[in-house]
Symmetry: C2
Subunit: 508 residues, 2 copies
């Protein structure tokens, strides 16, 4: 294929391909620059990761935003911090105009991270550390080492999700400056600060700053690469809604010998509530739950079928003796998924008592397929639970409420939620992005019609009505959302090359 | 009824009733003594409750045992500490022979307590405090108060379960000495130190010391009075087995957006395991689970029907809008009950993540009805789970085991377990105990064929082959096994009178 030849070429001249002017890839020069500067790059990344960024802590978020704003300013960007309203997490915005450019590309990423409470971090989540390749993952003095091994990993919260994308962009800008390469497009950067909280204010922020943010394509820099390790682009995200439930038993714990055959048990009630919503193999039991889901096109089916099979390796790596749903990982992405984030009731371990607990809780998130809307999902979930005999309340029930209702569930929807977004896979901007990455990496980029995860990007797409292409640079096994989140150095270095290409050889 | 006249009488002469010599009740004099000494009694109780007694901490248990041994020795008992083997929790044994007595009565209680880890103790569990009546339950300086209100409560671990019985016995002995009243029977006292752990060594202890422990009736001083506040005796306990289960998902937490439709979810698996074992309304779903249960006799049915209805008040007090099982609380006592002590998986609260957790766990106890045996229950539970597709392991599975088995549950049976025990309700010793308590309290004592709770007493009954009568003195709402365990002063004072009667007017 023609682009292979281009990828292998040198020089900065424009080549005419299929009637469209194509810039030559800067990949080789960027790589050489990176190899000469990799310790400085990793040092910058570690500095960025050292800043706590759990989105619920607004002062932390603001510190990150100020730092990133300064980074963009130092690279020649006109910058501002955008908010929906004062006191909410700011998005960092930067704009760099390219004389003569016809297109404006908006690069999205998010700089906030998931909560850090999970147990088992090998090093504290905001004290980034480099460790050797899996499975050893030994601590290593990377500054004293010779060349850095791309299989080594930086461990820290947000390493993979999503400060890796932020650092790759910053380093790509440095690389282009160092090699004297100019961007081919106008650049807008939008780095969100509350994505891991479900983007509660992001839709309003985008609406408020719609004119500032508009562009010809949105490149969403979030999420992992394909499990095969190949670069992959995607054309949308599922939406998400989340909710927490608490069910109630006796006002005080009861001895189960005396009361276990007579008093309702919250631990059993919560298990029953969970299994009334979905089966072990993932089937959602709410009738008609997927009625609004958009049909899957032939092009989407073909793209899914073209993904390299990685499921046997995944099972091996994850220690799974089975999978649920369809045989291929991505089979379920164009349908909704109901996940039980947590279930808790009663004491275990040394404090375990032969007692009936007073309450139990479960927490859920639902990934919405294209076509589904949060309001309809709310209604279907609540109608279904009511049909199962539950009385839904929004606060801890008082005594009168408890006595008047046999089965009470406190149900609270999460603040942040989003619909799915999906861009056509074959538009000109999408094709240009695919071609650019193909030139950078030397093979046809994989195409995923939609990723299973959700993103604040859904909001921006709906408001700005620009096509969206997701560009993921993180290793799939980056433990995103979990303990010991990490990014391989190879993923970071590859991401720099991908971004440098998108900045300086993209044209359509 | 004749015993009412006797209860109202005075003096110490024996009265002939129905051909059996009946001692007059010491209740009135004991009460007068108690009223004159109630602060000293409460002070003694608080001293006893101040000693930590979680059975897993053997040094604590041994300190309690030494203290109680000294208390019995000071009251003229020949004492020893009995163990099954060195290093296991000792039982405190004391014997006081009564010249001329024909009968030997063995009084059982336990001095160990449940774990204390539950949150919400109004005062630390081993810093006993007196508080006013519910619902105010205000802290009060009881030593500075005038007369003590019987509705006040002592809050501490084991106040109700079961150091209240221990203190009632010690104070009853003091009362009888003070009023110059001699016991009518030989007294043996056996205070167990590991009941709340399921009595793992108690059967061996009783077998080893069978000759030391034998008697004509066993009076089991444990458990609460009837919810109506009336004194109640019982004729047995259900047995108990417990087990813990852990189910396994991916080796590392996974982002549920990417993997939720493909990777099995431990939170759902554990909920499914729970709901496969029992329904919300208490039905155990293991086929034939109750096949071995002994039939319920007409006398038992009649005794159950004669219990005062307390269910509406219970629901009000417990904040329950419904009950499960039969309409009467005791309806389920002659059948097995499966309780889900706890269920846990994933994070909630500020650390909640949109992730698939690596494992989840649930903890169960099963109350065994008469006729059931732990070994058969083990087999039925495990066969059932295997039939549901589970592979049962005893340790955390290694990678090869995970990969080879689609659904793995680690299942570990609790160490302590017991069968049910049930004594005939109409034997002569049982009738004598009922009559004694009737004389003390002035109304016919309620009779419960079996209590729902379990006890190490099951072992002693089987080994010693003596009839057993359960005598409960604790208020039913004593929060036993739970946070803020307590005993009303009225329950303690009433218990002293009941024990004083059993020690000094029991004859058959």
């Amino acid at each position: 294929m023609a682009w292979r030849g281009v990828a292998a070429g040198v020089g900065v001249a424009l080549a005419l391909m299929g009637g469209v002017a194509q810039a030559e890839s800067p990949a080789a020069k960027v790589r050489a620059w990176r190899q000469a500067n990799e310790k400085a790059i990793v040092g910058d990344f570690i500095k960025l990761l050292s800043m706590p960024n759990v989105a619920t802590n607004v002062p932390d978020i603001e510190a990150n935003a100020a730092y990133l704003q300064a980074q963009l300013k130092a690279r020649g960007f006109a910058t501002q911090l955008l908010t929906a309203e004062p006191g909410t997490p700011p998005s960092v915005f930067g704009e760099l105009k390219t004389p003569g450019a016809r297109r404006t590309v908006v690069f999205y990423a998010h700089y906030d991270g998931q909560p850090i409470g999970q147990k088992g971090w090998v090093t504290p989540p905001f004290q980034p550390a480099v460790r050797t390749a899996l499975p050893e993952a030994k601590a290593i003095d990377w500054q004293a080492a010779g060349a850095l091994d791309p299989a080594w990993r930086v461990y820290a919260r947000s390493a993979g999700d999503d400060k890796g994308s932020v650092q790759a962009m910053l380093s790509a800008l440095d690389a282009l400056k160092a090699i004297g390469r100019k961007p081919t497009v106008n650049i807008k950067i939008l780095w969100e600060g509350e994505e891991e909280q479900g983007s509660p204010h992001f839709a309003a922020l985008v609406t408020k700053h719609k004119e500032t943010l508009k562009g010809d394509v949105l490149i969403m820099g979030d999420g992992p690469m394909h499990q095969s390790g190949k670069q992959m682009i995607n054309f949308g995200n599922r939406g998400i809604v989340g909710f927490k439930t608490t069910v109630y038993g006796p006002l005080k714990p009861l001895h189960d010998g005396h009361y276990g055959s007579w008093a309702p048990s919250p631990t059993v009630m919560i298990a029953s509530l969970v299994t009334s919503l979905r089966t072990d193999d993932g089937k959602i039991l709410i009738p008609g739950f997927a009625d609004e889901v958009s049909p899957v096109s032939e092009a989407e089916k073909a793209a899914l079928a073209a993904l390299p099979p990685i499921e046997p390796e995944l099972k091996q790596a994850m220690g799974l003796g089975r999978n649920i749903g369809g045989p291929r990982l991505a089979d379920g992405y164009l349908a909704p998924t109901l996940n039980v984030r947590a279930i808790h009731g009663g004491d275990t371990g040394p404090d375990a008592a032969n007692a009936i607990s007073t309450e139990a809780e479960a927490s859920f998130d639902i990934r919405l397929a294209p076509g589904m809307t949060p309001a309809v999902v709310h209604r279907k979930v609540e109608d279904y639970l009511k049909g199962q005999g539950w009385t839904i309340v929004r606060d801890t029930p008082d005594l009168a409420t408890r006595l008047a209702n046999p089965k009470i569930v406190r149900l609270n929807w999460d603040e942040g939620e989003s619909t799915a977004t999906k861009t056509a896979m074959d538009g000109p901007a999408a094709a240009a992005v695919a071609a650019s990455i193909g030139r950078t990496v030397g093979y046809p980029v994989l195409k995923l019609p939609i990723v299973g995860a959700s993103s604040g990007m859904a909001e921006i797409v709906g408001t700005l009505q620009a096509p969206m292409v997701g560009v993921s640079i993180a290793n799939y096994d980056d433990n995103q959302h979990a303990v010991n989140e990490n990014l391989t150095l190879g993923a970071l270095f590859g991401g720099i090359e991908v971004y440098a290409g998108l900045l300086s050889d993209l044209t359509w």
